[in-house]
Symmetry: C2
Subunit: 241 residues, 2 copies
DNA sequence: CCGCCGCCTTGACCTGTGTCAAAGCCTGCG
DNA sequence: CGCAGGCTTTGACACAGGTCAAGGCGGCGG
């Protein structure tokens, strides 16, 4: 491999690493050191990145695409734990523990990711306390995420969870006019992300449509008045929760 | 304070620290260093250790008792995320993040705990990569725990969750004869731990009793045949999940 | 000893959501 | 062009579990 190309590959990865919150404020020398053992991976829609129970070889940073982290129930139906999207890292929590990955991960879109091998990374951490703190911070985020997911499930009905999902991808502060969201996955996949079935999601969408909150055109959902939708969200929380 | 007493206090805490998995295999000099800034705390049943949103001052190790980590819904009902018991640490995930504790913690029994202040601990981590790895390991455990809780909720009905809870505190390998479990909290609190209501828990217990699986006498539950109960557990998973 | 107050139990009822089934709609392929 | 196989929508139905209400049981203070 020509040296020039190798150089280029390194800087491209360095940039990608910096984009991930975990490595955001590391010195560029450190980043280069990491970039040396990082692997670039591509995954097509449907490919598995790892399976539950498999021994942990490393973790991932998602540059492009979306990954569904889930478990399989005894009857084979998969239960989504979380869907990660670009810029996020996942499975770093599994690095330190024993017993392999606690869940499986499958690309729900074509993905472009970085794979950080376990042993090299752990070795690096030992000499870079800074990095360890970032790692802890990142895991901390995931903990919060799961805590949120957990009380979403406990307290909120499907309509409320759907509204929550919509509002999360609507800019803050809320635009007064309509805002359109393009679904990057099938509605069935979205249903799974919301821990429900496509039928139920379909009904929830219909109910919001009938209430004049949204307009649905295939894979595009238009929020007619984000502020009004947010009001309904708070309303739902008040009684149902 | 007499030097002798101080010495004693230190070694007692050192021992307590070693009991916690997070510090288990640290050198005793390191433990002593930690012990210096650790605070001993007691909490009576009902006391709050921290509230959701409060700025994070440190984390806890539970030496004795039980702590309920939960959130309050909009209507004021509390939703349990997890109940920690002796030997476990909690809230260490909040150390690195921003935005304060993601949940509240309340003693459900009289508790005896160690409080590890945030700034001192973080400073120590910077110079002790070993410790950082342990920290990561511990958070990793909590992540797994939440993942488990999450798919418990998604997939399993209350009876199954109850059986799961019972089996978790029944020795492995399963004794062939009866095994008795003493509830350390009220049944209402247990219901909350299982993310349900006392009425529903009551029914689940009754149903297991009528099925000849358990005997309930106030706060003591006798599992008549652990192996048979485990069989039922697997049965439930097969269909319902 | 009695009454109060928490906790637990049981019954009746209602609602959300999963399940099953049928039909509509797209998209790609022969 | 037309058909097949996905996805989505809608309806009918079943059931787990939450809610409300009415006791029962027990412990503790007066």
């Amino acid at each position: 491999m020509p040296e020039k190309f190798h150089e280029h590959r390194l800087t491209a990865q360095t940039a990608a690493l910096r984009g991930c919150s975990m490595f955001a404020d590391l010195g560029s020398d450190d980043l280069d050191r990491i970039a040396k053992f990082v692997e670039v991976r591509r995954a097509s829609r449907g490919d598995y990145l790892f399976h539950e129970g498999e021994t942990v070889r490393g973790f991932f940073i998602l540059r492009q695409g979306a990954v569904n982290v889930h478990r399989l129930g005894a009857d084979g139906t998969e239960k989504t734990i979380h869907v990660f999207r670009q810029g996020q890292s996942f499975a770093e929590g599994a690095l330190a523990g024993t017993g392999g990955y606690p869940a499986s991960a499958r690309a729900v879109e074509d993905c472009d990711l970085l794979f950080i091998p376990r042993v090299e990374f752990l070795a690096l951490i030992k000499s870079h306390a800074e990095l360890a703190l970032h790692m802890i911070g990142s895991m901390s985020q995931h903990l919060r995420l799961l805590v949120n997911a957990l009380d979403d499930l406990q307290g909120k009905d499907v309509e409320t969870r759907l509204i929550h999902w919509l509002l999360k991808r609507c800019p803050q502060p809320r635009p007064p006019g309509p805002f359109e969201i393009a679904l990057d996955v099938t509605k069935t996949a979205l249903a799974s992300e919301l821990s429900t079935r496509n039928e139920t999601l379909s009904r929830a969408l219909a109910s919001l449509r009938d209430a004049g909150q949204i307009a649905v055109e295939g894979k595009r959902i238009r929020i007619l008045a984000p502020q009004r939708l947010e009001a309904r969200f708070r309303g739902n929380l008040g009684e149902a929760d």
